[in-house]
C-alpha cells in the first residue's frame, strides 16, 4: 500500500514539470549570477587601479614632489598626478576627471567629491605621508643627523603583524553568498511541500476528497507524499551542490561529503516547512504560496542572502533567532564545516535542522490529522 502510494507520488512529483524546472533552474541561474558578480568583486578589491589625482602645490613642497616622482616611477603607480591651481582642480574634480585634490601645505589635506574605495585609498596615502612628515620634522629637531635613518625606517615595509589562521577552510567572504543561496533553494523547497496537504485534504481538493474515501489511511498517504517530496527535494539540493562545486568551482572546503549531507538535510527542512504551511487550514492556496515564498525570502534575508552582514546584525540583536532561523541554520552548517576543524558546531547545526524538520512535519501531521471537515 505504502509503496504503491510512494510510486505514484513520485511519478506525479517528477511530472510536475514547471515546479521541477524551477527547483533546478533557480540555483543554476542565481548561482551563475553570484559567481559572476563576486568574481568581479574580488578583481576590484585586490587589484587597485591608478588613481588620477590633482595636486595644488601652493606651498611648493619639494618633499612631496620628490615622493610623488618616486611613486610615479613605479611600474603600476598608485597615483597619476596633475599639478594645477585651485580653481582648475575643483573643476577637474567636479567633472569627475580626477578622484581627489591633494593640497600641499604644512600638512597635506585632501578633497574628494565622492565616497568610495578610491577615495579611501587616497586618504590612506595622505595619512601615511602626513605621519611621515610629522615624524621626520620632530626627529630633525632632536637629531638632524638622523633624518636619513628615520626616513629609511619609515619607508621600510613594516610587517609587525602576524596573522594566526583560525581555520584551514576557504576564508573568501563571497562563499557566504553561496551558502545562503543553498539555504534559499532549500527554503523554496517549501513550495513542493505545500502540495502534500493540498492533495490529501478533502477540504482542499477533489483529489483529497477521493483519497479520503479510500480505505488507505490518511497517514499512509501523507507519509508517502512526504517521503517522495523529500527524495525529490534532496536530489535537487544535491544537484545544486554538485553544480556549484564542480561547474562553478565554488570551494566548500575539504569535507565535501558532509556538505552533501548537510544539503540533503536542509532539503527536508524546506519540505517540512512547506508541508506545515500547507496544513494551515484557514488559508487559500494562493495565500499559502505567497507565505511560503515571502517567508523563505525573509528568513534568507535575515540570514544574509542579500546583505552579507545581516546575520551578524541578527547575532547581536536577536541571538536566539539565528539559532532557529532555518535559513541561518542551513547556511551556518556549511560555514561551520568549512571553518571549524572540530565537528561540534556542525553537529549542533545538523541536529537543529533535523529537529526543525521533524517539528514542522509533526505539526503538519497534527493539523492534517482531522478526518472530518465542517465544510468542504
Amino acid at each position: 500500500m505504502f509503496l504503491h502510494n510512494l510510486k505514484y507520488e513520485f511519478l506525479t512529483a517528477v511530472r510536475t514539470k514547471d515546479l521541477l524546472i524551477w527547483m533546478i533552474l533557480f540555483p543554476i541561474i542565481l548561482g551563475g549570477f553570484f559567481k559572476f558578480a563576486f568574481d568581479g568583486i574580488y578583481e576590484k578589491t585586490t587589484q587597485f587601479s591608478t588613481l588620477k589625482t590633482a595636486v595644488v602645490d601652493e606651498a611648493d613642497d619639494k618633499n612631496f614632489r620628490s615622493v610623488a616622482e618616486s611613486l610615479s616611477a613605479q611600474e603600476k603607480p598608485l597615483l597619476d598626478i596633475v599639478y594645477t591651481d585651485r580653481d582648475n582642480a575643483k573643476k577637474l574634480l567636479n567633472d569627475g576627471d580626477v578622484k581627489g585634490i591633494i593640497y600641499t601645505g604644512k600638512e597635506l589635506s585632501l578633497s574628494v567629491a565622492e565616497n568610495g574605495i578610491d577615495q579611501t585609498t587616497l586618504k590612506f596615502f595622505v595619512d601615511k605621508y602626513n605621519l611621515r612628515s610629522r615624524v621626520i620634522s620632530r626627529a630633525a629637531q632632536s637629531d638632524p643627523q638622523s633624518i636619513e635613518k628615520v626616513a629609511a625606517a619609515l619607508s621600510e615595509e613594516t610587517d609587525s603583524v602576524r596573522e594566526i589562521p583560525l581555520t584551514e577552510g576557504n576564508t573568501d567572504n563571497a562563499i557566504q553568498y553561496f551558502y545562503n543561496l543553498l539555504a534559499m533553494v532549500a527554503m523554496f523547497g517549501s513550495m513542493t511541500g505545500l502540495h502534500i496537504s493540498n492533495v490529501n485534504q478533502a477540504n482542499l481538493s477533489a483529489l483529497g476528497a477521493r483519497k479520503n474515501c479510500s480505505p488507505t489511511p490518511k497517514g499512509t498517504g501523507i507519509c508517502a507524499a512526504l517521503i517522495a517530496t523529500y527524495i525529490i527535494e534532496i536530489l535537487c539540493m544535491l544537484l545544486s551542490v554538485t553544480y556549484l562545486r564542480f561547474v562553478l568551482g565554488v570551494d566548500f572546503g575539504d569535507k565535501l561529503p558532509l556538505v552533501y549531507l548537510s544539503a540533503a538535510l536542509s532539503g527536508t527542512v524546506g519540505v517540512s516547512m512547506g508541508f506545515f504551511i500547507g496544513s494551515i487550514c484557514c488559508l487559500s492556496e494562493n495565500a499559502k504560496t505567497s507565505i511560503s515564498i515571502t517567508g523563505s525570502l525573509l528568513l534568507c534575508f535575515l540570514s544574509g542572502l542579500m546583505i552579507s552582514d545581516m546575520k551578524q546584525v541578527m547575532a547581536r540583536k536577536l541571538p536566539w533567532f539565528n539559532k532557529i532561523n532555518p535559513a541561518a541554520v542551513i547556511s551556518d552548517s556549511f560555514y561551520c564545516l568549512n571553518m571549524y576543524s572540530d565537528y561540534r558546531r556542525f553537529t549542533e547545526k545538523i541536529v537543529t535542522m533535523f529537529i526543525l524538520s521533524v517539528v514542522f512535519a509533526l505539526l503538519g501531521f497534527i493539523m492534517t490529522r482531522r478526518k472530518k471537515y465542517a465544510s468542504l
Binding site: 559572476f36 603583524v161 546584525v313
Partner: protein, 381 residues
C-alpha cells in the same frame, strides 16, 4: 468600465499576496537602510580585543592608546571562544601583543610584535594592521633618531592621534542619507512586488476562456486593453504610493529637490517594472515559472546593478552586464542624488533617458509578443 471593475476585484482577491510581498520587502528595505554602516571616511567603530602577553609598560601604553581609539571587548583567551566571538562579529579583530614586545621595540625590531586572529578579511582588519604597522615603524623611527623609548612612545601617540583633514568638495547635502538608502532598495521591492501581484492578475484576466468570452462581447478590444491598462495603473500607483508613504513615514517627507528627484526616479522604475510584469505575464501563465522569473530577476538584478552590493565594489565586467538592466541606471542616479557620486544635469538626464528607453523597448517587445500570441483571435494587444 466593467473590465476595469472586474480587474480591481481580481486584484482585491489577490491583494493578500501582494500585501504580504510588499510588507516583507519594505521591512527588508527598512531594516537594511538602518543597519548600513558603509563607512568610508567616518571613523569606523571597531570592536577590539587585546591580549597583552608582554605585560610591560610599553605594551600597556599601546593597550591604553588602542582603548582610547577603539572599542574594547572582553574575550576569553581560548580558540573556541575567540572563533565564536569573531564569527558573530561581537569582536572584529583580536590582537595579541607578543611576549618580548618591549625588548624588540627597544631594539628597533618591528617584525613579530603582534599577532592577530581573524575569521575573514574585513575592512576593520586592514585598518588595524595599518595602525599597528604605523605605530611600530614610527616608534622605530624615533628610537633611531635617538629619542628615548618612553618619549618615542609619547611622540608616536601624539603623531598618530592627528587625523588627516578630508573635505567633501562640492558635497551638496542630498538630504537625509537614510532616505536615499531606502530608495536604494526600491527597485528590488518594486520589481518583486509588481511581478508577483500583476502577473497572476493579468493571467486571470487573459485566461483563454475568459478572453474568448470577452472577445464575443460588445466591448471593443481596444477599450478592453485600455481598461486593463487603467486597472494596472491604479494598482501600481497605489502600491507605489504605499512604498513612498512608508518612506515618508519613517524618514519624513521629501524636503530637498534631490529627495524629490529620488521619488521621481522610483516612479520611472515603477513604469519599467509594470512593463516587465506585463511582458512576463504575456510570456507564461505558469505560476512556478513566474516565481522563478521574479526571484531570478529581482535578486540577479539587485546583485548586478549595485542594490545589495554597492556599485563601486563591483568589477567592471559585472557593471558592464549591469548596464543592460534598468536598475543599474536607477542606482547610478540615486547614488548621484545622495551625493556619493557627482551629480550633473546631463548624467542625471542620461539615467532618466535610458530608463525611459527601457520602458519603450519593453512595451514594444510586449506588444509584438501579444500580437503574435493572440493573432488567431484578433485581439488588440
Amino acid at each position: 468600465m466593467q473590465v476595469f471593475k472586474a480587474f480591481l476585484k481580481v486584484v482585491k482577491k489577490n491583494m493578500f499576496t501582494a500585501l504580504v510581498f510588499t510588507f516583507v520587502f519594505i521591512s527588508i528595505a527598512v531594516i537594511t537602510a538602518h543597519n548600513e554602516d558603509r563607512s568610508s571616511f567616518e571613523a569606523v567603530k571597531i570592536d577590539l580585543t587585546v591580549f597583552d602577553e608582554d605585560n610591560s609598560a610599553e605594551s600597556r601604553a599601546l593597550t591604553g592608546l588602542l582603548s582610547e581609539k577603539y572599542h574594547m571587548v572582553d574575550t576569553n583567551n581560548n580558540k573556541d571562544d575567540i572563533m565564536d566571538m569573531l564569527y558573530y562579529e561581537s569582536v572584529d579583530c583580536v590582537v595579541i601583543i607578543e611576549n618580548g614586545y618591549s625588548e624588540k621595540l627597544a631594539a628597533g625590531e618591528t617584525e613579530g610584535l603582534f599577532s592577530t586572529y581573524h575569521m575573514h578579511d574585513s575592512y576593520a582588519l586592514v585598518i588595524m594592521e595599518q595602525y599597528l604597522n604605523d605605530y611600530a615603524s614610527t616608534v622605530k623611527a624615533y628610537t633611531l633618531a635617538g629619542t628615548p623609548l618612553e618619549e618615542a612612545l609619547k611622540n608616536t601617540a601624539q603623531d598618530l592621534a592627528v587625523e588627516t583633514e578630508v573635505n567633501m568638495e562640492s558635497k551638496v547635502s542630498g538630504g537625509n542619507d537614510d532616505y536615499f538608502e531606502y530608495y536604494n532598495y526600491m527597485p528590488y521591492i518594486i520589481i518583486s512586488a509588481f511581478l508577483s501581484l500583476l502577473c497572476p492578475v493579468l493571467n486571470i484576466m487573459e485566461r483563454r476562456d475568459l478572453r474568448y468570452r470577452t472577445n464575443c462581447s460588445s466591448v471593443r478590444p481596444a477599450t478592453y486593453t485600455m481598461q486593463i491598462f487603467i486597472g494596472c495603473a491604479v494598482v501600481v500607483t497605489a502600491l507605489w504610493l504605499l512604498m513612498v508613504g512608508v518612506g515618508a513615514g519613517i524618514y519624513g517627507m521629501a524636503s530637498t529637490s534631490r529627495e524629490w528627484l529620488a521619488v521621481l526616479n522610483s516612479f520611472v522604475f515603477v513604469l519599467i517594472s509594470t512593463a516587465i510584469s506585463v511582458l512576463v505575464a504575456s510570456l507564461t501563465s505558469s505560476k512556478n515559472i513566474i516565481t522563478l522569473i521574479t526571484q531570478a530577476l529581482g535578486l540577479g538584478m539587485s546583485f548586478f546593478c549595485g542594490i545589495f552590493v554597492p556599485q563601486d565594489m563591483l568589477g567592471s565586467s559585472v557593471l558592464a552586464v549591469g548596464k543592460f538592466f534598468p536598475a543599474y541606471w536607477y542606482i547610478r542616479l540615486n547614488n548621484m542624488l545622495r551625493g556619493s557620486t557627482l551629480l550633473s544635469a546631463e548624467k542625471a538626464a542620461l539615467c532618466f533617458g535610458i530608463q525611459a528607453a527601457f520602458v519603450v523597448a519593453i512595451v514594444t517587445v510586449t506588444l509584438l509578443i501579444r500580437r503574435m500570441k493572440y493573432n488567431s483571435v484578433k485581439v488588440m494587444a
